[in-house]
Symmetry: D4
Subunit: 166 residues, 8 copies
């Protein structure tokens, strides 16, 4: 399984308040033994840091970038604008508008600059981690096998959960 | 009235397809004799150009920036992140989601980096021009007088329009 | 830095229940040393007071007006209709419809009468304060410097917040 | 049937472009022989005219006011704020957001100042006319009878329309 | 002031769970001394009772009917279909969809059968009570005076509420 | 296949303007040889006719009722309130709000009175016809076989449609 | 009343977390003495189990299937795609988007494959149970009588609930 | 540049009517010389074909799957449920609800089964093609270079488009 020390994945987020959500992406990467780098990078407060991060991402050995943000969530799209690595965007649930703003700000990218968007909130963060693993796993037989095992574990949990219907 | 050759206002937009909307902001600036600079600057396709534009805006003598964009509209917010001049954002009406995405991507900025958002589409562009004039007019008695005249002309049009209720 | 006793900014709101939100605009103005006047003015319950306030605003030395309201939020637009000073509208989060009503009632102004709208709720109020400072700062080098300092403090907080990703 | 020359109903609208919709309210009033006054009054462009209209409405013999507007539609609510006559609000369909903005700006009035809101667009204008007639008809036996006749005509049209299901 | 024992207003609601909201309409009617009848009538569970109520409403001396309901809220529209008295509809806030369903089910009536719709939830119920009083007050000088007094009391509360901005 | 003259299904709609949509339900019933009755019945304009229809439906031999309506669409729910036969509701696409109002008015029924809701517009009408056939087909082996044949024809069309990807 | 041991109805759900909602469907089936089978079947985690369940449903004696799911809720539609028995879909309320996603994912099925959709959340689950009973009751006089009794009990509860309006 | 005859990417769609949108993904793949397989596969009409396609995808040499669908769009999620290759979902714009249904049905996947979602409609299809190229390009220096060239061509078009602002 891919577990080299040099990170293939980065998990960035617009604010430390997004960590409660985004840690679920890191949990998945930990579970699959995929090395990653995590950092708060704000599109609006640290645009230069964001540009530097994005421009250097490929040279730094990254294969995939996961970016989470809420509200007028510009981080995933602006990183995507400054690298040609695949960028996964996680719409963090906002207080006022429940994440509708986060979702639309991330998913509705214009033709030319894609962001691979997942669901609003926790399940989106979990799936961002999985999607990163699947992108790597398309070129890595060990990860592919680990993904199969993960899917089988999901199936087993479904079977077991019938006991709770009482 | 303010009509010096050095522009106090810039009108930028993410794509030339936004011009149909954004020209209404320029029409207002023309009408009030406010010099402006207009340019296509794309947050996603030309992020370096955007950064350069924003960082130099104040030194170049600008007082207000008007930025229009549609869909996952990151241009107004990302310019606002890179200057402390007031930035007015115009949500251009998108095809798929009628401008809901444009509106939320522009207005829902996080605390710290404001964007002065106007209405979706044509009336928003007209009002962006007026808002820029009003910001200048807070410090310019001639523009303030011109704004009063404009308002009076609106009143007169209302009175005249009763003839159309047939 | 601008700190004269005569207020350049007014912060008005439709109800004292909006204060919990709107005080964030005042916090920013306090932080930048910008003098302001704060008052409850209701478009619906005190329309005459609103008209008087708006008509006298420029003569009273105001440069910018911040108006917050929720639900069918008519206060920002109706003040904007009765002054040519720039008016910033803050959509206060409503109970029933989470602020969708507040947002649309404020931002969707017809061509002719602009309102500079910020985000729904607390971050919108903070940004209304900042936007007012930025409007003043376009003509005030000291405020411009203070805004730069503020932005730098935001950057520093981002760097420090990485420690919380555990 | 009520057909005196002094109008009991006023039909006002924010712009002559609303007439296409609002004429349906007038058609109903014509059909029932209820005298009415029609006028363009803009909350944003002619706030003084609006205030004067509203304050004098009762003294002028009006019993009901119908007000139509679109976008950030403040006219019905602001008239309602300045009279205690019943005000019926018609959300005119807006171009950008299909009338969602018009609807919420009119219907979501705060406690204290009611607006009787009807549907978005043409059927809302028709129903505003009918609602005015019904308010008068609560105190006018002739109008009540005319309303019964109108309802019966609707029933007959339903029966006849089966012939079109081919 | 109108205070006769025979009710001029009925306040009906689809479920006793709507009472928490609808009692605000009754509070207003009590405050203005307007006699009313209150009852749970369900469009879906007691359609015959609803039909009987609506058909007899005018003969029973009612002048206005207030009907509150939530979700697929059919009560106001179906009563309106069976009487030509003015019917005021109050969209009670639903659990799942926050009252969007209640609002649209009540306000979007087809041309021919109007419902005078107020805001979602508590302020809508308060305003339904006031709207009923205003309909009566169009033909009752004492109620008109009481409405003026009520409006003045609102103004006074606004003035007093400035003390809370601390 | 079920083709007796006495209808097992009724297809009703609130207005003849709904026929353009609802005829798709009839097309399906024709295709499966299921006898049906079609009629315009308006909840709002002909409530007595609706009540009579619903109360007699079971005695008249009906097994399923399909009801289509738009806007504040009360027909399906009000028929469902007056019969215990299964009622299928089709949200007809409204002009102003694109069918959001129709959908919510039909699907958000309170516990106790179900409506089986299909998609907005044409595909919803087609599926209403199919759902009726499937309900009958649960107790009719010939119809079950015909449904299998229909499904197979859908599969074949998919295979053939690849030729169009050019 | 139908109470044979072989289930005529299946109640399936995408996750054991849906049980809190879906048990309301089972409560209704218990109340009417309709035998049912309940199981967790996930469209996404156990697609083969889902296919097997759906393909065998008719042969196993089922007449109706109730399927509940939330978020991108594919279970009802995918079961419907693999059986011609009637499938009732219950949109379980999602955390992030309040069930809008669940509702649209279930109700907006393409022409050819119907799902009978009920309301979001608890009332939708209750109504799914009732709808299943009504489908069976169209061919079962005892169940039809039991449904009449149930409706009468609803009427009685309405009458009794007036006592709570205090 | 990757141009082998064995496809690394599949572009599938629920209906041939989606081709108008999805061909934009194929245009991008053609432009980058990435071999692909295109096919109509319907989740609802051909679930067995879908299962077979998904289960064999990795063995057939695919690295990425692009799936487009509209309305209750289950195709991307159901393919994702049956392979661990990365699946990109394109929400095709639906007629009735403008693609809101397509978007939510695709993006709101539960934790465990990710779909990489792009924008509604044409730009989403273009970006799905690009996202696939970027996923391959993370492991292919020639494609990475081609992506850089593509981005440069976008920049040039922006510069040229200023000529259109007249």
């Amino acid at each position: 399984m891919a577990n080299e020390s040099k990170p293939q994945v980065a998990v960035v987020m617009g604010s430390s308040s997004d960590w409660e959500t985004m840690k679920r992406a890191c949990d998945i990467l930990d579970q699959f033994g995929v090395a990653y780098h995590k950092q708060v990078i704000s599109a609006h407060r640290t645009p230069e840091l964001m540009a530097e991060f994005a421009h250097n991402a490929r040279a730094n050995g990254l294969k995939v970038i996961i970016a989470g943000a809420g509200g007028a969530a510009h981080l995933p799209g602006m990183i995507a604008a400054q690298t040609t690595l695949p960028v996964i965007g996680v719409p963090v649930r906002s207080h006022a508008l429940s994440g509708w703003d986060s979702l639309l700000s991330i998913v509705q990218m214009p033709g030319g600059i894609p962001v691979a968007t997942t669901a609003v909130g926790n399940s989106g963060a979990t799936n961002a981690g999985l999607l990163a693993v699947q992108m790597l796993g398309a070129f890595d037989a060990d990860l592919a096998q680990a993904l199969d095992d993960y899917r089988n574990s999901l199936k087993e949990k479904v079977a077991e959960s019938n006991a709770q219907l009482v």
